[in-house]
C-alpha cells in the first residue's frame, strides 16, 4: 500500500489550468508521457540537469520538491546551423574558394534562419580554417544526432548530448519565426526522471558523475560551443512537473543502477546507451509498481522468454503475464475512483440535500473535474456524474499513460513480438547487457544473477524465480530450466558468461576491473 506520509500535497489547480482532470497525475505525477522515446527522455532529463547545474543546485536534495523550476537553453543559433541548413553542403561543393563560400552561405543564413532576431552568423568565419572544414564538421555533428534518421522537423532534432553546449529544449518554430515550447517530444517524463534521481538515496553520490556529463569536458562540446555566438544564452523558466512521492523504492533502484554504470568509468559516451535503457526501464517499473501499490497487489513480475525456435510454455505464460500487466495501470485508476465512490464522504453527500451539487463539489475537489461548463452535460444526479467521470478518466488514461508499459517496454527491448504474433517479454541483447553492467561488478554466479534480476526488477528467467510466483499447475520446472539454459547460451555468445565447471557458471562484466 501507499504510505501517505510519502505523498506530497497536490499542486494548486491553477498551476495546471489545461489539465482536464487530476487522476493519473495523483497516482504517477505530471506527467508520464508515452510518445517519448528513451533517448528523448534521456535528453530531456539532461536538459533539466544542465539547467540545475548552471544554477549550482544539481541533485541538491534540499530544494523544495514543488514547484520545481529550471531554465533550459534554446540554442537557436546552433540548431539553425546544424539542422536548418540544407544549403551548406551544396555551397561547400560549388565553391572551392573558402571566402566565396562563406559569403554565399552567410547570405543564405540571413535569408533562412528562423527563431532568432539577429541572423548574423559571421562569427563562425573566424573560427574555422576554411568553409570546407566547417561543412565537414557540421556533417559529422549532424550524423551524430539522436534519432538522426527520424523524420522530425528541424526544431525537434537534437545533437548528441556531448555536454552543456549541446543541450536544449524541444521547440516549435512557426514559419513566421514564433518560438514556443513543444511538449510532444519532451513530454515532461524527463523532468520526472530528474526528480526521481534527485529523490533517490544515491543523489549525493551521483552528483559528480552527472555534473561531468552535463559540463562536457571534451572536444566535441567545445566545438559545439564554437558554433554558437559568445553571447548566446537564451532561456525561459519552465517547470510545472510534479512527482507525487517524496521517496520510493523505484527511485532508489534507479539511482543504484546509475551509480553502478558510473562506477565502470566507461570511456567517452559509452555509458549513455546503457543509462538510456535503464532509465526508461525504471520509469516503466515505477509506473507498474505504483499501480500495484494503489491496487494493494503484489509487486508486478515479468516472465521473460529467452527466444526459443518453437512455441514454449514460457512464451505462453509470458504473453498472459504481459496482458495482465498491461491492464494494471488502468486497474489502479479504477481503484482510485472506486475508493472515492465508496467513501463515506460521498455517500453522505449523495444521501443529503442538494446531492448533485455537493457530489460535484467533492469530485471537483478531489479530481478537478468537471471543469467550468463543457465537461459534463448529463443528468443531474450523482450516480450518472460519477459514472461519466469514470468513463472519461479511463478513456484519458488509455490514450497515453496506459501505453507506457508497452511503449517503454518495447523500446528498452523487454517487450517484443519477435518470433510470434503476440506481445510478450523477451529481453534483447542490449537490455541484457545493460542489466549485466548495472548488476555485476566483476563476476557473479549465474543463479545469483538470476535471483538478483528477480529481486530488483521482477524479471523471471529461470526456475527458481518462476517457482516463487507461479501456481503449481502453471509452473513447469523443465520449461523454465530450458529457458535459463537458453539465456546461458545467449550470454556466452555475448562474451558475458563463462562456465568454469559443470557446477558453476559465472556472469562476467566485460568492462570491469580496468583490464588487469
Amino acid at each position: 500500500m501507499i504510505d501517505l506520509n510519502d505523498v506530497l500535497p497536490p499542486p494548486h489547480p491553477n498551476d495546471h489550468p489545461q489539465n482536464e482532470m487530476w487522476v493519473d497525475e495523483q497516482i504517477w505525477g505530471h506527467r508520464l508521457w508515452d510518445r517519448e522515446s528513451p533517448w528523448l527522455l534521456f535528453l530531456e532529463f539532461l536538459g533539466v540537469a544542465e539547467a540545475c547545474h548552471r544554477e549550482g543546485r544539481l541533485l541538491d536534495q534540499t530544494t523544495r520538491p514543488y514547484p520545481f523550476n529550471f531554465s533550459p537553453q534554446k540554442r537557436l543559433h546552433l540548431r539553425n546551423v546544424l539542422f536548418n541548413n540544407e544549403a551548406i553542403f551544396q555551397i561547400a561543393e560549388r565553391n572551392p574558394d573558402s571566402a566565396t563560400a562563406w559569403a554565399e552561405w552567410l547570405q543564405w543564413m540571413e535569408d533562412s534562419a528562423k527563431g532568432i532576431t539577429r541572423r548574423d552568423f559571421s562569427y563562425l568565419r573566424d573560427r574555422f580554417h576554411s568553409f570546407q572544414n566547417f561543412a565537414a564538421l557540421v556533417g559529422m555533428l549532424r550524423a551524430s544526432a539522436v534519432e538522426a534518421h527520424s523524420n522530425k522537423r528541424w526544431s525537434s532534432r537534437f545533437v548528441f548530448p556531448f555536454g552543456r553546449n549541446a543541450l536544449y529544449e524541444d521547440l516549435n518554430i512557426t514559419p513566421t519565426g514564433t518560438v514556443s515550447r513543444e511538449y510532444i517530444n519532451f513530454g515532461r517524463s524527463g523532468e520526472l526522471l530528474y526528480q526521481m534521481l534527485n529523490r533517490s538515496a544515491q543523489a549525493g553520490e551521483l552528483r559528480a558523475g552527472l555534473s561531468a556529463m552535463v559540463s562536457g569536458d571534451n572536444p566535441w562540446n567545445a566545438l559545439i560551443g564554437l558554433m554558437q555566438p559568445d553571447t548566446a544564452s537564451d532561456t525561459s523558466e519552465r517547470g510545472d512537473s510534479f512527482l507525487p512521492y517524496r521517496r520510493h523504492p523505484a527511485f532508489d533502484r534507479l539511482g543504484a543502477d546509475w551509480l553502478a554504470i558510473h562506477r565502470l568509468k566507461l570511456p567517452g559516451f559509452d555509458a549513455y546507451p546503457h543509462l538510456v535503457i535503464l532509465s526508461a526501464l525504471h520509469m516503466m517499473l515505477y509506473q507498474l509498481e505504483t499501480a500495484a501499490q494503489w491496487c494493494a497487489e503484489e509487486r508486478p513480475h515479468f516472465i521473460c522468454e529467452v527466444v526459443a525456435p518453437r512455441k514454449t510454455l514460457v512464451r505462453e505464460l509470458s504473453a498472459l503475464n504481459f496482458q495482465s500487466n498491461q491492464l494494471l495501470s488502468q486497474r489502479a485508476v479504477e481503484r482510485v475512483i472506486a475508493d472515492f465512490e465508496n467513501s463515506d464522504e460521498l455517500k453522505a453527500a449523495a444521501a443529503g440535500e442538494a446531492a448533485f451539487s455537493k457530489c460535484k463539489e467533492l469530485l471537483k475537489d478531489r479530481f478537478r473535474w468537471p471543469g467550468e461548463q463543457e465537461d459534463y452535460d448529463g443528468c443531474s444526479n450523482p450516480d450518472d456524474l460519477v459514472r461519466a467521470f469514470r468513463r472519461k478518466a479511463v478513456d484519458r488514461h488509455r490514450r497515453h499513460v496506459a501505453n507506457i508499459h508497452r511503449a517503454y517496454g518495447g523500446e528498452v527491448g523487454l517487450v517484443s513480438k519477435r518470433g510470434t504474433n503476440r506481445l510478450r517479454y523477451a529481453p534483447n541483447d542490449g537490455l541484457l547487457k545493460a542489466l549485466i553492467l548495472a548488476n555485476v561488478e566483476r563476476r557473479m554466479e549465474y543463479n545469483e544473477f538470476l535471483d538478483r534480476l528477480y529481486d530488483r526488477y521482477g524479471l523471471i528467467l529461470g526456475d527458481r524465480a518462476g517457482a516463487k510466483v507461479l501456481d503449481r499447475e502453471d509452473f513447469d520446472q523443465k520449461a523454465f530450466r530450458a529457458n535459463s539454459r537458453r539465456l546461458e547460451q545467449r550470454l556466452t555468445s555475448l562474451g558475458m558468461l563463462r562456465r568454469l565447471s559443470d557446477a558453476g557458471a559465472y556472469v562476467e562484466n566485460p568492462n570491469s576491473g580496468g583490464g588487469r
Binding site: 564538421l137 566545438l223 568509468k265 570511456p267 567517452g268 559509452d270 568492462n511 583490464g515
Partner: protein, 354 residues
C-alpha cells in the same frame, strides 16, 4: 584437451574418464553404444571393427546425436568440428588415394597400415561405390561420408609431425591457426622465447580492423579510434591515438605470458597497460579478420570481446591523458580516418581555431 584449455573450456576429471571409456569401448551398433565382452566376436565377424574407431569415439561418434549433445565433454570437443572440417588435399587422399600415384604413399602409410580402424575392406567397397556409383544411391554415399568423418578424425591423430605442415593438419579443425598457436605462440613463450613479428603484426591488423570497422591494412600501429558518440559503433572514424607495435618510449604492443596464458598487452605508458587474453578462439578470430573475414559474421562472441577490450584501452588512454594533463589553449583538432581502395589509411586533420 590442451585446445580445450586454451579455449577456456573446463573439463573435470570424471568427464575425462567418461571420455576415455567411451573411446575404448564405443561402437555405434552395440547396446547403449558401448561394447560388452560378448559383443566382440560378433563385431569381428561382421567386419565392422573400424566402426569402433578409437578416434571417432573420442568425439562421441558412436553415440546418438542427442546423447552426444547432452554430454558436455563431447559438446566441447565437437566445437573443434574435427571430422567435418577438411581440405581438398585430405579428401582427395581419402577418396582417390588408393588409386592415385601421387597420393598413394600417404594413403598407404596413414590408412592401410592402420589395421584396426584404417581402410578395411568395407571402406574400400564403400569408396568404390561412392566414386563410381550413380547419384541415385544416396544411402550408400551417406554411409561413406560418415566413414569419411571417422577417418578424418583418425587422420587428425595419425598424421605424424613431419607431415603436419605438408598435409595442413590443422585444416581438419575449425581452428586452422591452432598449430601455429600451440607451437609458435604458446610454445615459444613457454620456453622463454618471443612471438615472431609477422604474427604480432597479423593480430594487430585484425585488431585494427575491428577497432576501426574498416578494411585497413595497417599493422605497424594499433589504431585507437572512436566514432563521434560511441566507441562501440560499427565504424569508428575518429582517431584518438596510435600505439606503435615496436617499442617507442614506453609504448608498445606485444604478446606475452600472464599467469601462464598468452595475452596481447598494450602498453600505453610505464604504468598503464591493458591486456587481452589471447585464447585460441580470439587468436583464430583476429587472424581470420586480418585475412579478410568480416568480424560480425565470423564470431559475434569474439567481436563483442574485442570491442569491450577496445573500450578498456580507450579508458586507459583517457587515464594516461589525465596523468599527463590536458594541453590547454591548444587548437581543437579532429583526426578523421578514411581508407583508400587498397586499404591504405588516410588521416585527415581538421583544425578549429579557439
Amino acid at each position: 584437451m590442451e585446445l580445450c584449455d586454451h579455449c577456456g573450456l573446463h573439463v573435470p576429471i570424471r568427464r575425462i574418464f567418461l571420455l576415455l571409456t567411451n573411446a575404448v569401448l564405443g561402437h555405434p551398433e552395440a547396446k547403449d553404444w558401448l561394447m560388452r565382452p560378448g559383443d566382440v566376436p560378433e563385431i569381428i565377424a561382421n567386419g565392422t571393427v573400424a566402426k569402433a574407431s578409437f578416434f571417432n569415439n573420442v568425439f562421441g561418434g558412436n553415440l546418438s546425436e542427442t546423447r552426444r549433445e547432452s554430454l558436455e565433454v563431447f559438446e566441447y570437443l565437437n566445437r573443434f568440428r574435427i571430422g567435418y572440417e577438411t581440405s581438398n588435399r585430405i579428401d582427395n587422399m581419402l577418396i582417390f588415394g588408393s588409386d592415385d600415384e601421387n597420393l598413394k604413399p600417404y594413403f598407404k602409410r596413414l590408412m592401410e597400415q592402420d589395421e584396426f580402424y584404417g581402410a578395411d575392406a568395407s571402406y574400400h567397397a564403400a569408396q568404390r561405390e561412392y566414386v563410381e556409383g550413380g547419384e541415385e544411391d544416396e544411402r550408400a554415399s551417406a554411409s561413406f561420408l560418415q566413414q569419411l568423418v571417422s577417418q578424418r578424425r583418425g587422420l587428425f591423430f595419425k598424421i605424424p609431425k613431419e607431415l603436419e605442415q605438408e598435409l595442413r593438419l590443422w585444416e581438419l579443425t575449425v581452428f586452422k591457426y591452432a598449430g601455429e598457436y600451440l607451437t609458435r605462440v604458446v610454445g615459444s613463450l613457454e620456453t622463454g622465447g618471443r612471438v615472431d613479428r609477422p604474427i604480432v603484426s597479423r593480430i594487430v591488423k585484425g585488431l585494427n580492423r575491428v577497432f576501426v570497422g574498416m578494411l585497413v591494412e595497417l599493422d605497424r600501429d594499433l589504431l585507437l579510434a572512436t566514432s563521434i558518440s560511441f566507441s562501440g559503433a560499427k565504424v569508428s572514424q575518429l582517431l584518438e591515438d596510435r600505439i606503435p607495435v615496436s617499442p617507442r618510449l614506453n609504448e608498445r604492443v606485444e604478446i606475452v605470458l600472464e599467469h601462464g596464458r598468452p595475452v596481447l598487452r598494450v602498453q600505453l605508458s610505464d604504468t598503464i597497460s591493458r591486456s587481452l587474453e589471447l585464447n585460441l578462439a580470439r587468436y583464430e578470430f583476429l587472424s581470420r579478420v586480418a585475412e579478410g573475414a568480416l568480424p560480425g559474421s565470423f564470431s559475434r562472441e569474439c567481436h563483442e570481446d574485442i570491442l569491450a577490450f577496445k573500450s578498456r584501452v580507450l579508458a586507459a588512454l583517457s587515464e594516461r591523458r589525465a596523468v599527463e594533463g590536458s594541453a590547454d589553449g591548444e587548437a581543437l583538432t579532429f583526426r578523421v580516418l578514411a581508407v583508400d581502395p587498397s586499404g591504405g589509411l588516410l588521416d585527415d586533420v581538421i583544425e578549429v581555431l579557439p
